[in-house]
């Protein structure tokens, strides 16, 4: 789960990191009231999960109640790279002397935790990596050893932080490591970490990604509001235990296994189509899961045809076939279904589908031929893939494979 800035700062506070005082606001009136309590100047900040808020006009300093109202009015409802601003963070302004960067994440290849610190903060760190990789000091941390204040002092010195910021920065890094480890975060990033004009080191932004797999030992996570831009269908899919990600195309995709689902998206794209979604029904799906998956995809108005790509292992193809028929009974599915089934109990599955002899279900022998068929059926604009409204039928059999 990705936290927005204020949630990240609140998470940091649990571990004793020094963040400036602030309050959330969902309306102009709430923003004004928060600013009055905090005192001026304040910063009005859009709370969306996307970088480049400042450039887009989503971060403004206000010196009076009137300015707070003006900025809050402008920023609420603003669309920043497809993310609509619904919440603001009103924060006491900080006088900045210097901006730095600090983070902890996992170095997959080294199988160790990695601290990164740079004296070049406040800008896109990926850009710094490209322009001047030496500007970032790195420290690998073995989880069996953890960090010490001394190693962190050496790190901030290596990064070239100003001398008067070094002790404060090292202490913040020690707390940030605790937050990263005990807080089960995949990423904790402070950009910028600032030295104030009066010599304090403060956390001015927070980027935190929590490891969903660790939720069982963090009951407090249930209190964190999900402000992500996941749509209704993603919510519906999640509630049914399905891995669904909405996309913009017209070919609905159902596959078992993340790799096969991704691959199906790619193959649809290669034959000239575009997938409407990524949907993994998982390694142990039964007919009920399959029916749920069809139901979720059926709520997407962009879908013209549904491509079901299953390689049975633990998943039994006959279960998938029964699930499709059950879904057709249960819900009004208007799209045609192109079906590719291989693996466990595939013969039984073919028999079940053939028995039904539905024109709505078209079987194809391979992943590639199924993708071609689906893309062809999705192809004609304005013509939903319905039985009876088809143009030329797709290539049958595996002749070209």
């Amino acid at each position: 789960m990705d936290l927005v800035e204020y949630q990240g700062k609140q998470y940091f506070e649990r571990y004793g990191l020094p963040v400036p005082p602030g309050e959330t606001a969902d309306t102009v009136a709430e923003a004004e009231a928060a600013a009055e309590r905090l005192g001026y100047p304040v910063v009005v900040k859009a709370q969306v999960q996307v970088g480049g808020r400042g450039k887009a006009g989503g971060v403004k300093v206000a010196y009076s109640r009137q300015e707070v109202a003006e900025h809050a009015g402008n920023i609420l409802g603003m669309d920043i790279k497809g993310h609509v601003v619904r919440r603001l963070w009103i924060e006491a302004a900080t006088d900045i002397a210097k901006e730095y960067y600090a983070s902890f994440t996992l170095d997959r290849a080294a199988k160790l935790h990695l601290a990164m610190v740079s004296a070049r903060g406040g800008v896109d760190i990926e850009q710094v990596v490209e322009e001047d990789p030496d500007a970032i000091a790195r420290l690998h941390v073995n989880p069996l050893d953890g960090v010490t204040l001394q190693t962190l002092r050496e790190l901030v010195d290596l990064a070239g932080l100003d001398l008067r910021a070094q002790e404060g920065a090292a202490e913040i890094l020690a707390k940030l490591y605790d937050c990263y480890i005990e807080g089960d975060a995949d990423l904790v990033e402070i950009n910028p970490l600032v030295l104030t004009t009066d010599g304090q080191v403060r956390v001015l932004d927070a980027k935190v990604t929590l490891d969903d797999d660790a939720a069982f030992r963090h009951p407090e996570w249930a209190q964190i509001a999900d402000l992500g831009q996941i749509d209704e269908r993603e919510r519906l899919a999640k509630s049914k235990g399905l891995q669904y990600i909405g996309l913009n195309g017209s070919v609905g995709i159902i596959a078992n296994g993340a790799g096969l689902a991704m691959s199906t998206l790619d193959v649809v794209n290669q034959v000239g189509g575009a997938a409407a979604n990524f949907l993994d029904i998982g390694g142990g799906a039964d007919s009920d899961v399959m029916a749920n998956a069809l139901e979720v995809i059926n709520t997407d108005p962009n879908v013209r045809v549904i491509l079901v790509n299953i390689f049975g292992g633990i998943v039994r193809c006959d279960d998938i076939a029964r699930g499709i028929l059950a879904a057709l009974e249960r819900v009004d599915i208007s799209s045609q279904i192109v079906l590719r089934l291989d693996g466990t109990n595939e013969a039984e599955a073919r028999r079940i589908i053939a028995e039904r002899s539905s024109e709505q279900i078209l079987s194809e022998p391979t992943m590639l031929s199924a993708a071609r068929r689906a893309v062809e059926l999705a192809g004609t604009p304005g013509t939903p893939g319905r039985p009876g409204t088809l143009g030329t039928p797709g290539p049958r059999g595996g002749s070209s494979e």
């Binding site: 290849a109 995949d186 490891d211 660790a214 990600i245 790799g259 096969l260 998206l265």
Partner: protein, 294 residues
């Protein structure tokens, strides 16, 4: 020959009394794998379809001579189960468990490296490995694999592993060993580890590698292939059309900014002399063509 396992491998299933462990453990035995023991703390003395259950891996090793472990326990117990196996002297641990917290995986890997350097962990969150006709540990269907080689397969994804086996077996091209390294950010065994083993295995004459978006395991594999392999490699990478910033099912499959894209991985592999396929079917065709010329 085969890598990591063979017909003499003796397997203990940790969690054999659970539904997953029972289903897959017995399936592995039906395939011909020597499944000699099960472990469930507190259930020692019982048996599952004739396979004796022990309270600890150490007891199972003493009683049965098990040298490989198949871990089918839930995410909260899996990290301890891995270390229990390593402590008992097990040299190969295959963990299929999905959704283990990343911090626990990092800790387990650090413990293995420091205290049990001779233990190899495959997974977590993987389909396991199969050496057709000899040994099957994990959830792969034995009937889609074909014994006799000459192809070694290494893959990050489960169903794409099955797809790869299927593409080759249908064309009568057999496999030496097929290893699913798993879709998590920190796999115990990497592409490079498996490629190195295939390079050293005289029966493996070509390697098929199935990667996906996220991380830099494929790029490291490309470096290794260029510097240390003379066997031909065919690769397929899933996720060309995956959107940035979204985890595509697997914890490790995510494109962050310019990092981890399928395109970058395909380019790195092509530059290392690997035949890079656009889809799994093409990967199968390229490999079949290649094997027929060997």
């Amino acid at each position: 020959m085969s890598i990591f396992v063979d017909e003499n491998t003796r397997v203990v299933v940790q969690g054999l009394t659970g539904s997953q462990g029972r289903f897959h453990g017995l399936r592995n035995r039906d395939y011909g794998t020597k499944v000699v023991a099960g472990v469930t703390p507190g259930k020692g003395g019982q048996d599952v379809d004739g396979i004796p259950i022990f309270d600890s891996v150490a007891e199972a090793v003493v009683a049965t001579g098990a040298d490989a472990s198949f871990i089918a326990v839930p995410p909260r117990g899996a990290p301890m189960a891995i270390l229990d196996a390593a402590e008992a002297g097990i040299r190969l641990v295959v963990c299929i468990t999905e959704h283990i917290p990343a911090k626990d995986e990092a800790l387990v890997n650090a413990r293995l490296r420091r205290d049990f350097p001779r233990t190899r962990l495959i997974g977590p969150n993987c389909p396991g490995l199969i050496s057709p006709g000899k040994c099957n540990i994990g959830i792969t269907s034995g009937d889609i694999a074909l014994p006799g080689g000459p192809v070694g397969i290494v893959s990050r994804s489960g169903t794409l592993t099955y797809q790869a086996l299927h593409e080759l077996s249908q064309q009568s091209v057999g496999q030496t060993t097929c290893v699913g390294i798993g879709g998590d950010p920190v796999p115990g065994t990497s592409f490079v580890d498996v490629l190195a083993a295939f390079q050293d295995d005289p029966e493996t004459r070509a390697v098929m590698m199935i990667g996906e978006i996220g991380g830099d395991g494929e790029e490291r594999a490309a470096d290794f292939i260029a510097s240390s392999m003379d066997k031909p490699v065919v690769a397929y990478i899933a996720g060309v059309t995956a959107p940035e910033g979204r985890k595509m099912g697997h914890a490790g499959a995510i494109v962050s900014g310019s990092r981890g894209t399928a395109k970058a991985k395909m380019e790195a592999l092509a530059a290392a002399g690997v035949l890079v396929a656009k889809n799994p079917t093409e990967a199968g065709e390229l490999m079949v063509g290649l094997v027929r010329k060997l």
